[in-house]
Symmetry: C2
Subunit: 345 residues, 2 copies
Amino acid sequence: MVKNTTIYDIAREAEVSVSTVSRVLNDTAPVKASTRDKIMKVIEKHKFQPNALARSLIKKETGTIAMIVPDITNPFFPEVFYGANQEARDKGYTFFLCNTSGDDDRESEYLTILREKRVDGIIFIGGRINLANCPSELVQEVLEAAETIPVVLVNGNLAKTKFHRVYSDEAVGAALATQHLIDLGHRDIAFIGGLDFMTTTIQKVKAVKKKLEDHDLTLRKEWIIYGEFSIQAGRDLMNKLLDDSEHRPTAVLCVNDFTAIGAIKAASDRGLRIPEDISIVGFDDSPLSTAVIPELTTVTQNTHELGKYAVERIYQINNAMPTKRTTVLTPELIVRQSSGPAPKK
Amino acid sequence: MVKNTTIYDIAREAEVSVSTVSRVLNDTAPVKASTRDKIMKVIEKHKFQPNALARSLIKKETGTIAMIVPDITNPFFPEVFYGANQEARDKGYTFFLCNTSGDDDRESEYLTILREKRVDGIIFIGGRINLANCPSELVQEVLEAAETIPVVLVNGNLAKTKFHRVYSDEAVGAALATQHLIDLGHRDIAFIGGLDFMTTTIQKVKAVKKKLEDHDLTLRKEWIIYGEFSIQAGRDLMNKLLDDSEHRPTAVLCVNDFTAIGAIKAASDRGLRIPEDISIVGFDDSPLSTAVIPELTTVTQNTHELGKYAVERIYQINNAMPTKRTTVLTPELIVRQSSGPAPKK
DNA sequence: ACTATTAATGATATGGGTTTCATAGTTGTG
DNA sequence: CACAACTATGAAACCCATATCATTAATAGT
């Protein structure tokens, strides 16, 4: 590996001081045109790239932010990252992406590394910190980090804390989906998928219950089945649901699109037609939702916006601009082919 | 934002010199146990996090590598990133993820930023640099970068250059898929999807042609239809193919899983049964392939390995370990439900 | 013409670590 | 006991930028 050129090399060759070279680089003070030209020529000759480490060290900003995600393989997260990255580029940030792969220790491991690297902001999305049962040591640790670095929690649950938060109001989304099914004449509605200690699950179940009760309906206990968020889980959970052929729901709400797709597969395998025999509704409006047959009725999560607003928030904090602590995005229902009128008895 | 503690603060409070603190931090020379304890106590009291910028500046390594991807929303890339990130963590690297969103300028824009940030390695996957028609200025620029920073191209085409490369042998994969269809009795085989100037497309088409010719079959010109890599493109291309009801292939090879899924949808919409009426084969073995009905016959791309080997290569270069310039992974065929015996005429 | 600004530039401090070199204190060994 | 070989520590240089302060040259104002 070849050694990098430094500002001293440039100064020497251009026969000026490093201060003047710095002025040319940053346009921070007037430099005589002839001097500037001379310096520029040397810079271009060597394709000089100023060392960002040295710059960051004194400027006390790195132009770097990070997102910590539990599983980049889950298409929800790339969508959020996409939006965040767009905004980051506008604001001059480069992005660290830290994938914890669900490994509990890595969240705080990455946190330490990122603090040492003096990132200008950290976005947590999913993961333990956003869990309903998040251990308090972790909360403590993140709070500490937040004293020196702007931290934003996306779709988390720590409402009472003073963390900055951006989230999509999943309760509203779940209510929307439930109302939709009720409007279609469904009375027997089930909910499947999602770990029971995850905020995203809890909020949805609660909202579905509430909405049903508003219409004098109930969410039967046997019809709330928790599990993972994967396609396979959706399949298994749906099969469990359908095993009881005496009592079958006419519609199923799923915690996300993955489980919904699994549910569709399970139902199809048993010869059920969707939506004629059973309606299935997902959550997230991931690219998958139009990829399946039938196309999935689902709820948008404003994924790009989630990322965008999170980065914007970091930018505002760093530039001492006024900000609110929480940003709420409202989901919308997208009706496609997987939901239809309740079958007549 | 609160000011960070420095090594000088620690040294002062522990009544030692910064050198000694540094020794304790890095375990680079013996320190008396009592001194060490005293220092550790102060470090822990302040939750001291040494500034990685200062360290990197002098050490000339940042523990940071980057991946430049064209579209993180395409599930192929998160899979590769996943594998890369796992390996990165093992080797002590943190990851920049740069999403160009297909914007031509950003590749070199990010390249500049990453060079200034003195990353320890850059992985290019997809994007212009890996195109068959990559502009030579960009090649030049990346070559220059490669003089100071290890650069690895994943699934690229620049065979004649001296870049480090890791790729999945797509020709072998395409041949495998073709052979599979031939074995099933198909004679009328089409290929859809993919931009005609992308390496990934070119190699596959070439391999399919070759394999067919080996069996005295031909790939009809009208049955090679190029396009985007999206679900929608797959749908459109398949529709175009099926519009000619006189001459219809009995099997379709798709450039990736996305287009294959689109193709399945188009065929289903026309009432064709898969695989009874028409067989469809994808490429990538993305998580999607088991999410659709019928499940997709496809070719693995060893996504995690691609990422893993790319990072490993960077590590080897940085540590002056012997490496080969190219690593080739061999894809495998995964037969699922979307391919079956050719229909009898 | 003479002082008051502004332009143009250089010298030096600074950021926060690591590394090298020097020195004092210990232990070992013939 | 004298001298070598370590151990333990500090002082100072270094990494490579930016920022501040000082100085000189050029222009402006009265």
